[in-house]
């Protein structure tokens, strides 16, 4: 009987839970359309080459072979298929897409995580400036607001910050890489031993605090100010600052934090990255960022792009499920079909009762605790 069980990491969604998910997706899609985004639907199956730029550790795909022996995967991500579409079709730029669907990732057995996740998101292709990043943030935060999710924390980061600073330290490449690894893993013992020779340098003050360089925006910026002047850092800092200001003005109830000690969420990110979460839960509500080099992998022409995706499952988790009130049952004779459908349309939360006789209809209503609307009594 084993094959009647669900594979580890999958789940069924029944009734209210599945309906709430559908209504959340519909709200998000309607928002996207209202802002002039166009829908892009890509297949669940793709050649594995499409997903080459992903970090294989977190995004292990399910693999299978097509009839020619070519390796196919169930898509572990929805951004790279968009990149594939842009590279292989002559769509005019700039363009704004929205998409929705399931992604599949192999997760550790018995770890309690799911292998099939629902996402809904947008990609803005062909706009170079910060306005495109801000539209993504606006879409994300207005979406949360509409779902009545309050006190969202937006965490900003930047794909280039760590590399730019490490470059300035004048370390041999291998040491620089170890330093980045120790920083990303928050391995303080190793990090401290690697920065020991730099304690007296201009960077000493900053380096000591670097593993703790996340949290309140202004406090983090105070530590960044301890760095000696680095010209390559100026545009990064000013993008972060003006974006924090944008969020504070547009969404004063939400909080902006920044993390300058983490790796970029994907190797292909080139600019700002952002994630939204609330205090109560470990899952991110949305995440996104800018990746201006990704499309060169396909067509050798750099195309600016920025996108954001909602984790629909985590939005569902934060939505109060409506109580499952019993439906009213409409019992009718075979020749009353039209009247029954009319009653159905007039009566909220009702459904046709398909039993053959009245006694069975009564028993069903009693066992469901629902009201029985008996149309057969109206017949002379």
């Amino acid at each position: 009987m084993k094959n009647k069980n669900l594979p580890s990491g999958t789940r069924d969604e029944l009734g209210v839970q599945a309906e709430v998910k559908e209504s959340i997706e519909n709200k998000l899609f309607k928002n996207f359309r209202n802002r002039g985004f166009r829908k892009l639907t890509t297949p669940v199956l793709e050649y594995s080459d499409v997903f080459q730029p992903l970090n294989a550790d977190n995004y292990r795909p399910y693999q299978l072979l097509d009839d020619q022996g070519e390796p196919l995967v169930l898509r572990p991500d929805l951004t790279l298929p968009v990149a594939r579409v842009m590279a292989t079709t002559g769509v005019d730029l700039p363009v704004k897409w929205y998409y929705g669907g399931d992604v599949f990732r192999v997760k550790k057995q018995l770890s309690g995580s799911y292998n099939q996740l629902t996402q809904a998101g947008i990609e803005i292709v062909g706009y170079r400036g910060l306005k495109a990043d801000w539209e993504c943030l606006d879409v994300a935060l207005s979406g949360c607001r509409e779902m009545a999710i309050k006190n969202v924390t937006v965490e900003l980061s930047h794909a280039k910050f760590v590399a730019v600073v490490v470059d300035q330290l004048g370390l041999p490449e291998a040491t620089g890489d170890s330093l980045k690894q120790a920083l990303f893993n928050k391995d303080l013992s190793k990090f401290d031993s690697l920065i020991a020779p730099l304690k007296q340098s201009d960077f000493g003050d900053f380096l000591q605090e670097w593993p703790w360089l996340f949290g309140d925006f202004d406090q983090v910026m105070e530590v960044v100010d301890r760095l000696p002047e680095i010209p390559a850092l100026q545009p990064i800092i000013s993008d972060l600052q003006s974006t924090a200001q944008f969020i504070n003005e547009m969404y004063p109830d939400d909080t902006v934090t920044v993390d300058l000690s983490i790796p970029s969420p994907q190797q292909y990110y080139t600019g700002m990255a952002f994630r939204g979460f609330t205090e109560q839960s470990a899952d991110y509500l949305f995440s996104g960022g800018r990746y201006d080099d990704l499309l060169t992998n396909f067509q050798k022409v750099k195309t600016s792009a920025v996108g954001v995706a909602f984790d629909v499952d985590s939005l569902v988790e934060r939505t109060a499920l409506p109580a499952d009130t019993p439906q009213s049952l409409i019992f009718f004779n075979d020749d009353q079909w039209e009247a029954a459908v009319e009653t159905l349309a007039k009566t909220p939360n009702s459904t046709l009762c398909l039993t053959n006789d009245r006694e069975a209809a009564k028993r069903l209503a009693a066992s469901n605790g629902s009201q029985l609307i008996d149309l057969t009594k109206q017949v002379k």
Binding site: N185, F214, A282
Partner: protein, 217 residues
């Protein structure tokens, strides 16, 4: 302010770490006279629970505790994904490959290795390009080569006394083991000031205890 929850590995790690926690200003009176209790809240800032080593990571991954104190042997074996932030200077020992005096590491046949740590053993032999058969056993690993269950063992040694008493010798030294302070990734964001304070205090106490908290390579 919410209490930080700490999962501490019971047994030897607990005995070695408690003086360090006390030196960093944490009240551990409850743990010293614990009787049958498993939860200790004598210090108003912390709630300390005592659990088995592998369960420290289960509690930590689940977010039920924010901080775990556990040996790096368990972190390596279970492929930990949380932040191992601090090496503590206690509980230092090492993985070794050991066997009886007639064991020939160069012998050309597929060896049988008994261990409590199959993943670490597998990675070591993969690293040196040798294919071995691994048998997992739960304790008294030294018995395996003596009784003929295995050709050799991979196990942790601290002083080497147990090996000597069983007439086993070391054939290779694998990675070092020490006690680590591990922090749940999300908790580090939610409890940043408290965790930073705890780590700073522990680092100072660890240095004052006369040892460096860095592993000497």
């Amino acid at each position: 302010m919410k209490r930080l929850k700490i999962a501490l590995t019971k047994g030897r790690t607990e005995q070695q770490v408690v003086p360090l926690l006390e030196a960093s200003g944490i009240n551990c009176d409850g743990i010293r006279n614990k009787q049958r209790r498993l939860i200790f809240d004598e210090d108003p800032r912390y709630e300390i629970i005592l659990v088995k080593g592998p369960d420290v990571l289960t509690y930590l991954n689940n977010g039920s505790v924010q901080i775990g104190i556990v040996g790096s042997d368990i972190l390596d074996e279970q492929q930990n994904s949380q932040y191992a932030m601090l090496d503590l200077s206690v509980g230092k020992c090492r993985f070794v490959l050991a066997s009886t005096s007639d064991f020939d590491p160069q012998a050309h046949r597929r060896k049988i290795i008994a261990t409590k740590y199959p993943n670490i053993t597998k990675r070591y032999f993969q690293g040196i390009g040798e294919d071995v058969e691994i048998i997992k056993i739960e304790g008294s690993v030294e018995l395996a080569p003596l009784i003929g269950l295995a050709d050799a063992i991979v196990d942790i040694v601290e002083t080497g006394n147990t090996l000597r008493e069983n007439h086993l010798q070391v054939y290779a030294r694998l990675q070092p083991v020490n006690t680590k302070l591990v922090v749940n990734r999300l908790a580090l964001r939610q409890y940043q000031p408290q965790i930073k304070q705890l780590i700073t205090n522990l680092q100072r106490a660890d240095q004052q205890s006369g040892q460096s908290n860095l592993i000497k390579e």
